[in-house]
């Protein structure tokens, strides 16, 4: 059985310890977490986790079932129809030659998020594989720091 990547959107009660129940489930059963983001669902008592994981079909099926089995889990969405975006921040020294950076940022829905005395911070928000490509391309500006966020996803 081949390993596949899977995005899961998990809605849980926003209560103490719920994140450790989920991370403990993954750790205890040997499942992978590639990325994980958590935030409250507006005006409810719920939180939404977006988990990017991978495994063979049996493992993925078990992950979904085991997540369901947790008492505070409200629902697990495993749609293939997700709008999925990731973001990344990249710090580049001002000493670099910025020629072409503007075009690169445009190509990846990016912008300059901040700047300081001797650096700028560029930001992109895009599909996970495109963020990956951006980070390869931006290397030529010798970034001093890269921070990547996990995926957020919405089923459509």
């Amino acid at each position: 059985m081949e390993n596949a990547r899977r995005v899961l959107s998990v809605v849980v009660l926003n209560e103490d310890g719920v994140l450790s129940r989920i991370s403990g489930l993954f750790a205890g059963r040997g499942y992978n977490i590639d990325t994980l983001t958590v935030a409250p669902v507006p005006s409810t008592n719920l939180s939404r986790l977006t988990i990017v994981t991978s495994g063979n079909s049996r493992v993925l099926e078990q992950i979904v079932k085991q997540l369901h089995k947790l008492i505070p889990t409200y629902k697990v969405i495993e749609s293939n129809e997700f709008v999925e975006k990731e973001m990344a921040l990249v710090k580049i020294p001002l000493s670099e030659d910025f020629s072409g950076l503007d075009m690169l940022l445009k190509a990846y829905n990016g912008t300059i998020a901040s700047s300081g005395d001797d650096f700028i911070v560029a930001m992109v928000a895009d599909d996970a594989n495109r963020v990956e490509n951006f980070l390869k391309a931006v290397k030529k500006y010798n970034p001093t720091d890269v921070v990547r966020g996990g995926s957020v996803a919405m089923d459509v």
Partner: protein
Amino acid sequence: MELNGSQMVIEALRRENVSVVFGYPGGAIMNVYDEVYKQDYFQHILTRHEQAAIHAADGYARSSGKVGVAFVTSGPGFTNAVTGLATAYMDSIPMVVISGQVPITMIGTDAFQEIDAVGISRPCVKHNYLVKDIKDLPRILKEAFYIASSGRPGPVHVDLPKDISAQIGTFEYPETIKMQTYKPNYKGNVRQIKKAVDAIAESKRPVLYIGGGAISSGASEVVREFAKITGIPAVETLMARGVMGHDNPLLLGMLGMHGCYSANMAMSEADLMISFGPRFDDRVTGKLSEFAKHAKIIHVDIDPSSIGKLVDVDYPIVGDLKNVVEGMIPLAIEKVDANKFKTWRDLLNRYNEIHPLKYDDSAEVLKPQWVIQRVGETLGENAFITTDVGQHQMWTAQFYPFSFPRQFVTSGGLGTMGFGLPAAMGVKKAMPEKVSINFTGDGSILMNIQELMTAVEANIPVINIILNNQYLGMVRQWQTFFYDKRYSSTDINMQPDFVKLVESFGGVGFRVKTKEEFDKALDEAIKSNRIAMIDVNIDRMENVLPMVPAGGTLYNMMLEYKE
């Protein structure tokens, strides 16, 4: 009603009709124990170790089907309880365990007897709570009992900080409960049930594979009826002993590593496996890729995560087994012809005649199988049978004539040595009219031996039958078979005098070397109505057979061992 946190615990237990609590006090749970002292709704039994308190509540739950309840204190009190929680979790036993915790204001400061209890219990309970606000306590207690006993049952742990147990709040105990995120599905899908019965009608060599779910669902009666209507032969897992009844002509026996030949061959040759609440444990299936290779699989389970976890299932049905089988019966009457499976039944019965469960009895030395059969002949359905873990456990599962569900109480999934004595005490509290027998080994019995004191103090007569071979026998057996007889740390001929030991606690003891002595000892033990220990010297080198070596295939059984 205004109550403090400890009074709320007592009041909740009263409303849940709890009649006995096992436990052990300590600093962080003293407020609760103060209220235990003042009440007379339930009996509190002081064990001599926290692990035993949990096993006793577990034995109570397994034999009665009710929720077992135990109290322990924080820190070491709680960590001692963990093995008990894990034991109950692996076998899906309903239980509520309340532990004391240091005051909320001190959590996280490495206070005296502080441990992250909910962090530790998380992977070995169905659910747990750390109570942070007195306002939440009544709801949490109600949820704990509801979660423990509904769906796939399991232990629930409530960690109660000392300041919360003293705070006063309003006690409103909900009569019923509806949880936003937890809704077990009891009714099986009607179309799936119909498809499954159609598959049964079309099959030629079907077999009923019955697991512990048949017991927790209370489905024994309908499963027996279903088997009778369809004429389909049945095999039981360790956890399902007693579901079909030993004298049921359709029961082949237990399957798996130490299952009988006909049961394992039935699985191997079947074209349809009708799985009623088992979980495809590795001790049952052997090598998975060869397990029931020719069979399509129907799997009924209340826990969706149990279905398809290890094998691909053709007809999954999520629901309460009793409910689902009740739905299958009218369809089966209409569609399934029991005569159709006669050749198949005959074949399996022939397997049973060729290779029955057997042992070579001896005039010189007592055989453990004889002892178990003898107790079966003497007490039969008048006893509940508990075991510890090891060879004696397997011999008991093979040779005791179980006639009703819940009669057999054993730690299956976790395989916890030291389970037997405290669990048998819990059984006796739940079933005072029956004899409570604990078949144990000379290794296991020492793992909770301090409970003899509890049994004497609380007057709980349990008859412990030590099948004493002066070995950690099951490990010794593997060393004989697979490790060239290098008996690393398994020879335990250095032993206490078990007769004097039990007498020093205030019970009665017998040492037995012959059949006559055994009959006499058992008779006297029953009549004494006290905690008893029968130390039976058995053949040191007796092996549990047949055997499927770990990872082997069910159709390649080791039927006998030759030097």
